[in-house]
């Protein structure tokens, strides 16, 4: 079972955990990516996330399906924010339940690693003196 959401409002870890919780799964791994207050030592004021929404949702679903197939995990919740995020807010939450913990860890890591490569979502860092689309240039 898979729960994919792209949300303009605050992400809720407990909601992701409740979705994946299962009486026949012994381990849940949760990854939360939060907005850091600095990049390479330079203070960040806030972030803005833009998404190609239908494709982002489809790609997140593919990743979750691959993770279930690859690692034999039970349930995955994958929530990503869009819009303006303040420092400390969660940009992404991934929760995975599995019968045993190794699969939960591996699948959760696979999801975040693959999301960062494949899902059409873009992060703009807003500094005191300007804005930068992250990773745009070599």
């Amino acid at each position: 079972m898979i729960d994919i959401q792209l949300l303009e409002s605050t992400l809720d870890a407990q909601q992701c955990i409740s979705f994946v919780h299962s009486n026949d799964a012994g381990g849940i791994d949760v990854f939360i990516g939060t907005v850091r207050n600095a990049t390479k030592g330079k203070p960040v004021l806030r972030l803005e996330f833009e998404a190609y929404e239908p494709m982002a949702i489809a790609e997140m679903r593919k990743i979750a399906e691959q993770a279930i197939e690859k690692f034999g995990v039970k349930k995955i919740a994958l929530h990503h924010r869009t819009g303006i995020l303040e420092i400390g807010e969660a940009a992404v939450i991934i929760a995975v339940s599995a019968p045993h913990r190794a699969a939960a860890f591996d699948a959760c890591r696979y999801c975040i690693d693959t999301l960062k490569e494949a899902v059409p979502i873009w992060k703009k860092e807003i500094f005191e003196d300007g804005e930068v689309w992250v990773a745009a240039h070599p």
């Binding site: 833009e50 190609y52 940009a91 992404v92 999301l115 059409p120 979502i121 873009w122 703009k124 240039h137």
Partner: protein, 81 residues
């Protein structure tokens, strides 16, 4: 000739100047043909670490022929998560 819709995101949108752009392409133009045309018209696209093209919501190879009314998205380096 055929008409396609171009969607641009992130830095690509800043370079193209529009989120949505309708383009006329020669019939049977491929994804690669569109890429060449865009790079010629918007040379700053070449400065990016990468630009992938998605056709109707799926990453597409350079050889894929485009069809009338396809939605093509310009995908600069993604940075979600």
């Amino acid at each position: 000739m055929m008409k396609i819709s171009l969607l641009s995101f992130g830095i690509a949108k800043d370079i193209i100047g529009h989120r949505f752009l309708d383009l006329e392409l020669p019939a049977a133009a491929s994804v690669g043909d569109l890429r060449s045309m865009l790079v010629q018209r918007f040379p700053r696209l070449s400065d990016l670490a990468s630009v992938r093209l998605a056709v109707n919501g799926e990453y597409a190879s350079e050889y894929l022929p485009l069809d009338e009314n396809d939605e093509v998205a310009l995908i600069p380096p993604v940075s979600g998560g």
